[in-house]
Structures are given as structure tokens and as C-alpha cells.
Symmetry: C2
Amino acid sequence: MTFGERIRELRLARNLTLREVAAEADINFTYLSKIENGKLDFSDFPSEKLIRKLASVLGGDVDELLLLAQKIPDGIRRRVLERPEAFSRFAALTDPQIDEVLRYIGSRVHSARTTPLS
Amino acid sequence: MTFGERIRELRLARNLTLREVAAEADINFTYLSKIENGKLDFSDFPSEKLIRKLASVLGGDVDELLLLAQKIPDGIRRRVLERPEAFSRFAALTDPQIDEVLRYIGSRVHSARTTPLS
DNA sequence: TCAATTGTTGACGTAGAACTGCAATCATCC
DNA sequence: GGATGATTGCAGTTCTACGTCAACAATTGA
């Protein structure tokens, strides 16, 4: 699932046309077409600002869209900047090790979510 | 310690002038002055590209400088994009919970670092 | 004393990313 | 067959992050 595919999916799920969504997002409908088809001239994705707007207009999840566009969600970014060393260590784990740590979190660490996943 | 302060520290530690470092980094020395003094017109920090160049020229740690400039180091970024859900959960932990998980990693997860901390 | 070196600052310039917009073309669907 | 919607190439325009320039201040050292 690419970013563009997801945008299209969200748009069609609401039975909206390119023109309708583009108008609400204050962009040109041809640009939206290019976004959905991954045919942007330079860069693979639109700006973070526009991604947020599209999420809002389409009722999509901002973080999901940001990730599809290879951008770091705010909640994670904030925490990385607060605890960089911790994240460096976590990032250095292999996939199975990450899974193991997640199981540990699930079993040992309770009421973990103090803030929404954002 | 701000980004600019650290840059200046690195530069002075090598007894280099603004002009010398700027020349090596292919920028104007007045721009470097602003960077060190946190006086950039817009944005608080130079581009990621320039940060890397400065790290190289000054022999500084890229990740340290990136973090001071509120940018996510590559190693972490890559892993976040690979395992977003895991990082969301990790990021949602409180500080003490993160510390607990780090202790767990230290005690249970061996040969964790398959790649450099980058 | 004055000139050489170094650093600071406000105003200004610019390249590239982000986005526009048209024209031509195609596909569907009543 | 025309109304509606989408695609795409290409040449704009806009915006701002990035960086320069010119003038000046501070310090050093002969």
C-alpha cells in the first residue's frame, strides 16, 4: 500500500471526485491526481503540511499517512528528541529482539499509554 | 547546550576561524556566524545536508549534531519506518517505563547491536 | 596608531521544492 | 455523443529555506 493508493482509497470510500477533494484541500485536482498515482515531478510525496490537510479532509489517520510518506509522526519524533539514547538502543535491536521487548512491555509494563499514540 | 554552541565549541577546539571552517564547508562565513549564534532568519537550524558537512569538517558526531538540531538520526528514522507500530508503543512509555525496558534489554537481550548506532 | 584579523548583523538575493494550470487525451456511462 | 471524471506532459508561478553581501565593531599586535 503506497501513500497515493491510500489517499485514493480514502477518497473513493467517501465517493468523492478528485475535484471535490482537491477543492477542499485548496490544491489543484491535477496535482491530487499526480499524488494518487505517485507521479510527482520531484520528490515522492507532497509536503507534510498538505499530508495533514489531506488527512483532515479525508478523515484519515495523520500518522498512518505520514508513515506511508516516509515521515516521522510527531509523537515519536518528540519522544526521540527527549530520549535519543533510548531510541538509539531500541533502533539497534533486530526484529525478533524488538518483538521480544514488545512482549515484555505487554506483560510487565502496565498503563503504558499516557498519551494517545498520536 | 544548543546546536550553535556545540558547533562553536568544536570549531574553537580546533583553533579554526569562521572563515576557515566556512570555506571548508562551502558556505559563507557570515552564515556560519549566524548558525553559531542561533540567528538564522527563518528556521532554527541549517539543513541536514549542511549539518552533515559541518560534522565532517569539524570532526563532530553527526547524530549528536542532528539531535541538537532537532532532526532524527538516520539509523532511528530507518527503523521507525520499518517498525512504526513498535516505535509508537515505545514512544508511548513514560520515562521510568523506558528506563525499565532499557534495563530489560541490557539484561535479557544480548548481542543487540547488529548495526552501528549510526 | 593603524592595519590586519576576526566576528556580528540587517538587508538582500536565489535555487529548488511545492504547487498551479492548461491542453490533449482517454475511459465510462447514461 | 456529450457529460463527467481521470491522466499526464510540460511550462509556468510561488514560497521560503538557504545563503550572500556590505558595512561595521571588536580585538590584537607591530
